[in-house]
């Protein structure tokens, strides 16, 4: 009995020393992502992208002369799990920084733990305006909802479409209200006249009355703040009533499904995105091809953001020339004009990114990049 106990202890000691030795010649990065559960698809994309990025870094000689190693933990899309993972990561002194999580809620739940332990939490996708503000060590790269409204007004409605006035139809939920609100506020700022704003109910299929009402003021353009499925129906009803109005929409309509459902009615609709499969940039096409090889499907915007997160982190570690947690944070905060596949990225004071977008238009049944402000 005594002997087995001793053996066990010895084995443990051996293991521990092994781990330490192991840690010494790698730079370890934690990845907290919903590998299973509701958001499994996105979590898997995170894993593929971050691993791909790490392999690429290693192939180019690694970081600080060491290999990068990704430690993946499954948060199941649950904020409680994300907090537990945070606890594990911060206690493991071999982990230099963390990437994740997917939802804003999970990120916010883990934020105080990372902040206390002075470890970077870099989220590829948290878009809540409060996330990056919640701590010195919190960074988000997807951009917040505050940037899209002004972009849609200034670059899409005014510069690209040359609209003088515009009406808004929006879905009657949280997202619809925020999107409409940011758009209308930006319109006031940039002197774009808003001739009317009308909500529609989520289950509603008949937009005739609403569209007729908005049509009375005869605006040049109509902003459709809806998901692609509703937007396609709205576009169809607009064409059926014979209204020749120019359409623009937030990035929620950027999907191949919009064209499939809307057909000719969505021809000419203008929206924005900062990651498009149609992008001709060789770096982006390279990423898409490689991702497809690994994952067996096309990457989405979230996968692209996860890839950029790892690359940015690596860039920061190189500049810090140290795997010290605080040194990494300081270097990361100074990131300026980092050239990622989702565009040129610079952190704001609070640690998020004011995104620039590409102007996307449906032309002959295809999404086409019309103007690119991301680079």
């Amino acid at each position: 009995m005594k002997k087995t106990g001793f053996m066990l202890l010895a084995a443990l000691a051996l293991l521990a020393s092994g781990a330490v030795a192991f840690a010494a010649d790698t730079v370890r990065i934690g990845l907290s992502a919903p590998i299973t559960g509701n958001y499994a698809e996105y979590g898997e994309n995170f894993k593929y992208s971050v691993t791909m990025a790490a392999e690429k870094i290693n192939a180019a000689g690694g970081l600080l002369g060491k290999k990068v190693e990704i430690v993946v933990m499954d948060s199941k899309g649950d904020p409680k799990e994300a907090a537990l993972i945070a606890q594990k990561f911060v206690q493991d002194s071999s982990i230099a920084a963390e990437i994740g999580d997917f939802t804003s809620t999970a990120c916010l739940a883990a934020a105080p733990i990372y902040e206390r332990a002075k470890m970077v939490q870099l989220s590829p996708t948290a878009s809540h305006p409060d996330f990056a503000k919640s701590g010195e060590y919190m960074f988000g790269i997807v951009g917040t909802q505050d940037a899209e409204g002004p972009f849609n007004v200034k670059y899409i409605a005014q510069e690209y479409m040359a609209l003088k006035n515009v009406a808004v139809i929006y879905i009657n939920n949280d997202w619809g209200h925020v999107t409409k609100d940011r758009f209308v506020k930006a319109a006031e700022k940039f002197n774009l006249k808003v001739t009317g704003e009308q909500p529609f109910m989520e289950s509603e299929k008949d937009y005739a009355a609403i569209l007729n009402k908005l049509r009375q003021a005869n605006p040049d353009g109509l902003c459709v703040a809806a998901m692609y499925n509703e937007a396609s129906l709205i576009a169809r009803q607009i064409r059926k009533m014979g209204w020749n109005v120019k359409l623009l929409a937030p990035s929620s309509v950027f999907s191949a499904k919009l064209i499939e459902l809307g057909g000719e009615a969505v021809e000419g609709i203008v929206t924005n995105t900062f990651f498009a499969l149609e992008d001709k940039d060789p770096a982006v096409q390279g990423f898409i091809a490689e991702f497809e090889k690994v994952a067996g499907r096309k990457p989405n915007l979230h996968a692209a953001c996860a890839y950029d997160s790892m690359m940015m982190l690596a860039d920061a570690i190189k500049r810090a020339n140290s795997a010290d947690r605080t040194a990494i944070r300081n270097a990361l905060a100074e990131t300026k004009d980092f050239s990622g596949i989702t565009g040129k990225l610079t952190f704001t004071k609070v640690g998020d990114i004011e995104r620039k977008y590409k102007v996307m238009v449906v032309e002959k049944g295809q999404w086409v990049v019309k103007k690119d402000y991301t680079r």
Partner: protein, 291 residues
């Protein structure tokens, strides 16, 4: 002025779909003496039947309507078998609960079998007439024509055939009808199937008019048909037709005068007002059971 006329036209078009749903609902309500919760799902199944006929079999709109009619008819027979037949003498609530159960199964099953994504229904009539600033689409007129034809056919059926008369008798008083030699069970099967089949047709129109079918489209459709039937007098078939068209007009005019956020508020406020003045609905019988 054109604006209000246009709103009225769109309201009538939307109302004609509501009317068709409500007629089916009133029919079922009449013979069962109870509300059914499967209504929305029957509409959804009819819509999908029409959608498959139009897109995969490439049939015309008429065959699509027949497909919707037939699919919903068959579903009506199944619903009767599962929900009503096994509990002929049970308390009223039994039928309510069984229809809730079947509705849930249908809705969830549809999401598994038919998918959770919205499907595109192709246009059938794209033409239109213009009168000043008012545009009337051919499809709108077509829907109204379908409503009139089916209503007329139903009226003839109820007036001129033996089964029709028996249906009316059962709807008035089950016990008395049984005493006079009416096979109540058979009437229940037939009446329920006809009611469902009409809903199936309305589902096809719904899909074609809005270019979309969706596995969860039944919820709001069921609610609208119920509201229309209540407005018309619950078991009155002409009442349901009028109620449906009126509801469509109210909703559209509500948006035109106020704002679209008030759409349902206006429609249901009018509904409440009508019920306050005429508790049994516009064409409801005095003393009829109310919900």
């Amino acid at each position: 002025m054109d604006y209000y006329v246009q709103t009225l036209v769109d309201g009538i078009a939307q109302g004609s779909i509501y009317a068709l749903m409500a007629i089916g609902f009133a029919m079922i309500m009449g013979i069962l003496g109870l509300v059914t919760f499967t209504h929305g799902e029957v509409i959804m199944v009819g819509a999908f039947a029409g959608f498959y006929a139009l897109t995969f079999l490439k049939t015309g709109i008429f065959i699509a309507l027949v497909a919707g009619f037939a699919a919903a008819w068959i579903l009506g027979l199944v619903i009767e078998l599962i929900c009503y037949r096994r509990w002929p003498k049970g308390p009223d609530e039994t039928w309510l609960i069984t229809t809730i159960g079947v509705s849930t199964v249908l809705k969830s099953g549809a999401q598994i079998v038919l998918g959770t994504e919205q499907q595109l229904v192709p246009d059938v009539y794209t033409g239109f007439w213009t009168f000043g600033g008012v545009r009337i689409l051919h499809i709108q007129v077509f829907m109204l024509a379908v409503l009139f034809l089916l209503s007329a056919a139903l009226w003839l059926f109820l007036k001129k055939t033996k089964t029709g008369l028996e249906l009316k008798a059962v709807s008035m008083d089950k016990t008395a009808a049984a005493l006079l030699g009416v096979d109540v069970r058979r009437i229940l099967v037939v009446g329920n199937a006809i009611g469902c089949a009409l809903c199936g047709v309305s589902g096809v129109l719904l899909g074609v008019y809005y270019n979309s079918v969706h596995a969860v489209m039944g919820g709001s459709a069921g609610l609208k048909s119920f509201a229309s039937a209540v407005l018309g007098g619950l078991t009155s078939i002409p009442g349901a037709a009028i109620g449906g068209v009126l509801l469509g007009i109210f909703e559209n005019v509500g948006v035109a005068i106020f704002s679209s956020g008030w759409r349902d508020v206006i429609a249901f406020l009018i509904l409440i007002a009508v019920l306050l003045v005429r508790p049994s609905g516009l064409l409801g019988r005095k003393g009829a059971e109310k919900v």
